[in-house]
């Protein structure tokens, strides 16, 4: 007996939930870069490489969410 049946696309809900984390993450990265540059402008050149490393790692999770949304939706 099913207590609660979800109809419609579960993959879409899954992707929506998966996008929360990376959204917050990317925001944190750039917020900290802006703040650190505001406190000490000379450091901006030094910290910029870390911005791109952090952005790549966090954004990879968001993009994996998109990709796996399609992969898992093919099963239903």
């Amino acid at each position: 007996m099913e207590l609660a049946a979800v109809s419609g696309s579960l993959a879409a809900i899954g992707y929506g939930l998966a996008a929360i984390g990376p959204g917050i993450g990317v925001g944190l990265i750039f917020a900290s870069y802006i703040q650190s540059t505001a406190r000490q402008p000379e450091s901006s050149r030094m910290t910029l490489p870390f911005v791109w490393i952090g952005f790549a790692v966090v954004e990879a999770l968001a993009l994996l969410g998109i990709a796996f949304g399609f992969i898992w939706a093919r099963g239903t």
Binding site: I53, F55, A56, A60, L64, I71
Partner: protein, 76 residues
């Protein structure tokens, strides 16, 4: 030294692309990596009739490759 800014080679009149160019490069490595290896994974999937596992594996490998490229190219 750990605290030094990234050194420029003395014979290189052109350095790293700055600003917006780096952002688009990072994003294109990530998405491009996932697209290329997702496609290769799809081909492997059709060859082996693996039912979607190979696509997922390809996408993850592509994401990892993309992150590695971003770290190497933009992180030094």
């Amino acid at each position: 030294m750990a605290g030094d800014p990234p050194t420029k080679r003395s014979d290189d009149p052109y350095g790293q692309p700055s600003g917006a160019g780096q952002g688009w490069t990072a994003l294109s490595y990530l998405i491009g990596g996932m697209a290329v290896w997702g496609f290769i994974g799809w081909l492997v999937d059709r060859w082996l009739h693996a039912g979607g596992v190979a696509i997922g594996l390809g996408v993850v490998v592509g994401a990892a490759g993309g992150i590695y490229l971003v770290i190497r190219r933009l992180g030094q």
